[in-house]
């Protein structure tokens, strides 16, 4: 098999020799599909609204939060009041402000780790299915091993190496271990379209393998990739919160997970400051729920059995 050699050009006009993005609009069809899927499903729409709410909090914390979250100037352990809608922490910080400021880190982790995990899932899953043979065997083996290992303990072990794991570490660790489920899904999907004639047609007309993977296969799987991303983001939110809760995150950072950590350290639930623990917990749950709800829109795509029977002209079946 000839490996795609980027150095080998066939003529003076070089750009076409590489995996050059096609001039035709792929984006138009795919993005429209995703938007349509999201807006048509009620649950997904609820998820979008929820996520947007948190995004606003994450982008404009300064404008929304009433106080500086780190300022330990208030009466410690106070219950909810007009000044402090959720009360104060054991250190005299306004819980609501902490919550609002904490949104940013939590969302960033979710999106970044989710994105990294999805990118890896796509790379591994699609390549394994398309390349086949030994490459597939090796990649699938790695995928299965990571899939089987209990992630949380593994993540703990790895994160423990880096005391006070900051944003970067968390994202890398979560991303590097959270791709296997998506990889399996994408591999299955790629296998099912691998024998489709348009891929064979692309190879027969002389496209390189890398081009085929990037520009012929991936565009047909945008919905599955988005669904995979939502799943990965959900996993990242919950796992990051968990890691921070047990103290592996950076305790000085502002996030829901660290709030939980400090709340636990001060026995918030028992000591009359329940909101300190409950509020961030609820936020973690809600953000996770946002991603999960949005995923409903894509269930139909990854599991065709759930699709309503649509009969459109030009569809394959003869009646």
């Amino acid at each position: 098999m000839t490996t795609p050699s980027l150095a080998e050009t066939a003529g003076p006009s070089t750009p076409a020799a590489k995996a050059h993005p096609p001039e035709t609009t792929a984006g138009a069809g795919a993005a429209a599909n995703v938007l349509r899927a999201l807006t048509r499903n009620r649950k997904a729409l609820a998820g979008v609204v929820l996520l947007s709410f948190f995004l606003v909090l994450a982008i404009f914390p300064g404008q929304i939060a009433p106080d500086d979250p780190t300022a330990e100037i208030y009466t410690p352990g106070a219950g909810p009041s007009a000044h402090h809608l959720l009360g104060t922490t054991a250190y005299g910080q306004d819980i609501l402000s902490q919550l609002i400021w904490g949104t940013r880190l939590s969302i960033v982790i979710a999106l970044a780790a989710g994105g990294l995990a999805t990118a890896l899932a796509v790379l591994v899953g699609v390549s394994a299915a398309y390349l086949g043979g030994i490459a597939d065997g090796i990649l699938s083996l790695i995928t299965d091993v990571i899939l089987v290992i209990p992630i949380f303990p593994l993540v703990i072990v790895i994160a423990a190496y880096r005391k006070n794991a900051g944003l970067f570490t968390l994202v890398v660790v979560l991303g590097a271990l959270g791709w296997s489920y998506g990889a399996r899904q994408l591999r299955s999907q790629t296998l099912s379209i691998r024998s489709r004639d348009f891929l064979e047609a692309a190879r027969v007309r002389g496209e390189r393998k890398l081009y085929v993977i990037l520009f012929e296969i991936l565009p047909t799987m945008t919905s599955l990739i988005v669904a995979s991303f939502l799943g990965a983001a959900l996993y990242a939110v919950l796992t990051a919160a968990g890691l921070q809760f047990i103290g592996l995150g950076d305790p000085s950072s502002q996030s829901w997970g660290t709030m939980l950590y400090w709340a636990e350290n001060n026995e918030a639930l028992g000591a009359g400051m329940p909101l300190w623990a409950i509020a961030p917990g609820v936020c973690v749950a809600l953000l996770g729920a946002a991603f999960a709800l949005m995923n409903y829109a894509f269930d139909e795509i990854s599991n065709p059995a759930l699709r309503p029977v649509r009969r459109s002209r030009g569809a394959g079946s003869r009646t």
Binding site: V309, R313, T319
Partner: protein, 338 residues
């Protein structure tokens, strides 16, 4: 038809619709059909004409979002639409059975032929294991499959054999009516031919009626008694097979016949039928075939033709309006235009 043959199936004004993104699509529009015992009726049409939907509706096998929205299906005088599931079950397979398109998909790949036949037997009758085994062997022999294959899995049988096994299963209770949806489409020409001959022989031997749905008119030309042509959910022609082949009335039927290049006779240039079937979500106002019809007139685009009786043959075409009488059923439902 002699007086002794009864009418075992009567379909009156059957309409099937389904909901596609909020828009109701009528896949089968006001279809009438009658079938006498031992009769072989072929239903012919292309993609989207509604023939498979019609078949499923008759067998009460439609699943949501498709549903019967009008008309009735009388099997031996009983309205199938109003029967309960248990009543239906007692009819199914014993008096009426179905052979699916492409046995590759219809046979369970993880069960042997014997197991599937036993399942069918147990589901519809009280038979002992010995009786089931004996009957299974018998039906396999009927379709020229060596009974040793009872213990084979579907993938061990060739395509033609699988299809014949499906037919054998359909004959377990020697039903009075067997409905077949393109049973030969996945087969090669030689296997197709021998299967058709076999079906015809079985029909004559066991005396069941057949409704045979296909897109290939020439396939049934020598086997069916009557032929029904469907287009865009409607019946456009119905009559004795020989008549349709020798003197096709509807322009669509003519177009279809001419779309088959022949291996005998002179080599002529054929034209096929230009265009495509209409979108059933927005059917044309007049005759549904008029946009593609080489003989269309102004009025064809405006007024939808009714099914007219022209000397024993039913045609849905304005060209025959003068030379015909309106059929009694269309008269009775004159108020509701198709």
């Amino acid at each position: 038809m002699n007086a002794a043959s009864e009418r075992i199936l009567e379909v009156r004004g059957l309409s099937v619709a389904y909901n596609s993104d909020g828009v109701p699509v009528v896949a089968v529009d006001d279809v009438d059909l009658e079938l006498s015992s031992r009769e072989f009726l072929a239903i012919v049409g292309e993609s989207g004409c509604g023939k498979s939907t019609l078949l499923f509706a008759i067998a009460q096998l439609l699943s949501p979002p498709a549903e019967i929205v009008g008309g009735e299906v009388l099997f031996r005088g009983r309205n199938m639409v109003s029967l309960s599931r248990s009543e239906l079950r007692s009819i199914r397979w014993r008096e009426l059975s179905v052979v699916m398109q492409s046995a590759m998909n219809a046979l369970n790949p993880v069960m042997t032929v014997a197991t599937q036949m036993r399942d069918a037997c147990k589901a519809h009758a009280d038979m002992s294991d010995a009786e089931i085994e004996a009957r299974s062997r018998e039906v396999l022999r009927l379709v020229s499959i060596d009974p040793v294959h009872l213990h084979s899995y579907p993938h061990q049988l060739s395509g033609g054999m699988r299809q014949r096994a499906m037919i054998a299963m359909a004959l377990l209770f020697t039903p009075d009516l067997v409905i077949m949806d393109e049973p030969t489409s996945a087969l090669d020409v030689v296997a197709q031919r021998s299967l058709m001959v076999q079906i015809k022989q079985l029909q004559e031997q066991l005396g069941f009626a057949v409704i045979f749905v296909t897109h290939d008119m020439s396939l049934v030309s020598h086997f069916s008694d009557r032929l029904m042509v469907m287009y865009a959910g409607q019946v456009v022609e119905l009559g004795a097979t020989r008549n349709l082949f020798e003197r096709p009335l509807h322009p669509y039927t003519r177009g279809l016949l001419e779309a088959f290049p022949s291996i005998h006779g002179p080599r002529v240039h054929l034209l096929g039928i230009a265009g495509s079937p209409p979108d059933l979500a927005r059917p044309p106002a007049g005759c549904r075939f008029s946009p593609r019809c080489p003989e269309a007139e102004e009025r064809c685009l405006a007024s939808p033709p009714a099914l007219l009786d022209t000397d024993g043959c039913l045609v849905r075409c304005l060209l025959y309006e003068q030379a015909s009488a309106r059929t009694p059923t269309t008269e009775a439902r004159a108020g509701g235009a198709p």
